[in-house]
């Protein structure tokens, strides 16, 4: 049996003087998987991903990385394997130049010289901020500060990339950049885990969707399975709505069409390729 890249075994976590945020969560994430975690605010998503790089330690259960329990591994050491981009860029930006900000993580990992410069340049190129290398981060708008925070984690080139609500507060161009980053990381074989409230982003950019409700995993499967009509009651119990193509597809009796591409493909007629395809087979694309 293969060892998963990340394994959470019956993880529970309670904040001091607070609620139990994660309850008995078991997950296996394989190398190269793209996983999006969705759920209402307070469902335990952020708490869960903060276990992946040791910021939080489970009250009970275990977190394993490459089959090894990370309980006693320092966060600074885990940062070389798991990069976590926070939701609010203003909680991390401090440098006077965009390039220095992006170089902070790799420098902490011991990267120097030409390799450091190459990583910074590549990360800025990936998020479309190459022309802003000398700009003060606080002279950028919120959308671009978020992209900068993302670049600062990309430059660490960790095998696992965790993104906390990367599309929130982004304009259309920013969302397109984030989608490209996820696609590129997946193409490189990196594991991407994201938290999102953006159902379109979740359905179109990830191979696996995990739905959390009240600290537990309520659903776990492909976008086609999670956004299929049969799962809607569970989604709505988690205060989530399926993406529009899934609703339209179900209304037209085309089966599960979580993305616009899947919907178009399932449509009978000149625009679609689904003429003659039986309903329910469109799947995720």
């Amino acid at each position: 049996m293969n060892v998963p890249l990340i394994e959470l075994e019956a993880v529970s976590f309670t904040y001091p003087d607070g609620p139990t945020a994660v309850i008995d969560v078991t997950l296996r994430i394989e190398p190269g998987e793209t996983v999006v975690i969705i759920g209402q605010n307070g469902s335990g998503k952020s708490t869960l991903v903060r276990h992946l790089n040791g910021l939080l330690r489970p009250g009970s259960g275990r977190v394993l990385l490459d089959g090894h329990d990370i309980h006693s591994v320092h966060v600074a050491a885990l940062a070389a394997r798991v990069g976590l981009a926070f939701q609010n860029p203003d909680r991390q930006l401090f440098a006077g130049r965009v390039a220095s900000e992006v170089g902070f993580g790799p420098r902490n990992l011991g990267v120097r010289g030409a390799e450091l410069e190459a990583r910074v340049a590549a990360a800025l190129e990936d998020v479309g901020l190459a022309a802003e290398a000398e700009t003060n981060p606080y002279d950028l708008g919120l959308s671009r500060r978020k992209l900068l925070a993302l670049a600062s984690v990309l430059a660490m080139r960790t095998p696992v990339l965790v993104l906390d609500e990367p599309t929130t507060g982004q304009d259309a161009r920013g969302v397109a950049r984030v989608r490209a980053v996820v696609a590129s990381a997946a193409q490189e074989g990196r594991t991407v885990i994201a938290i999102s409230h953006d159902m379109r982003f979740a359905a179109e950019c990830f191979g696996r969707v995990v739905v959390m409700r009240a600290g537990k995993v309520a659903l776990d499967g492909s976008p086609a399975a999670i956004f299929a009509q049969a799962a809607w009651p569970e989604l709505r119990a988690a205060y989530l709505e399926p993406p529009l193509p899934a609703v339209v597809g179900a209304g037209l009796g085309l089966g599960s069409t979580p993305t616009a591409a899947a919907l178009v493909a399932a449509l009978p007629g000149p625009a679609g390729e689904g003429r003659g395809r039986p309903p329910g087979r469109a799947g995720n694309e």
């Binding site: 940062a79 909680r91 930006l93 401090f94």
Partner: protein
Amino acid sequence: MAALEVVAAFALPGWVGPLIVLAAVLTTAAAARRLRGLATISLAASPLVGSILLVNLFLLPGAADPIARLGPIGPTWSGLWFGLQTVARLMAFSLAIGLVYLTTAVDDLLADLARRGVGRRAIFVVGAAVQMVPSTIGRAGEIVDAQRSRGMDTEGPIWRRARGVLPLAGPVVFGALTEVEERTMALEARAFSAPGRQTLLRVPADPASHRVTRWAAILAIAVIVLARASGRLG
């Protein structure tokens, strides 16, 4: 009461003042179930406590009763005694102020100030100052997490941790400034500076027992200050 305790801690001579205040603070904290909060404040004050003890133990001017001799300098009994007394005063003062933070509901405080006719700008300053402490602590925790996620070592040797001062302090200070600016604009957007007297949403209860305690504390402060000024407390 906190004001009385602070005055008593410094104005009453010898051990009497700080010990009475510490006993009063700890008893009140136990009744209010806030002993854990006071323990956290004590822990935060421990570097200062340690340095006060060390300085007085070895460097108290005029002390000539050595406990032991360590080369050119040596700890002295009078230095130890004076250091402990200073620490007791410091802790009495810190814990009395800390207990106010731990037991005062900000909403009640602000509503009471408004009821007494304090200006809305003054109330805003008091409210912002009081609320800034927990919000800054929360923000600082998130900033530490974000920088640790980028490999900043907060668990290694002290010289390595020292490199993290700028990455931690920068976002805390900038965030605090931004928050004040945003909060001010949000208040103005809700007619904060509108002319006329503000109405009250609720009036906090002020029973007779509270009023008697308050006036007794004010009277006691006046008595202690006058006695100290006239030299009757030594």
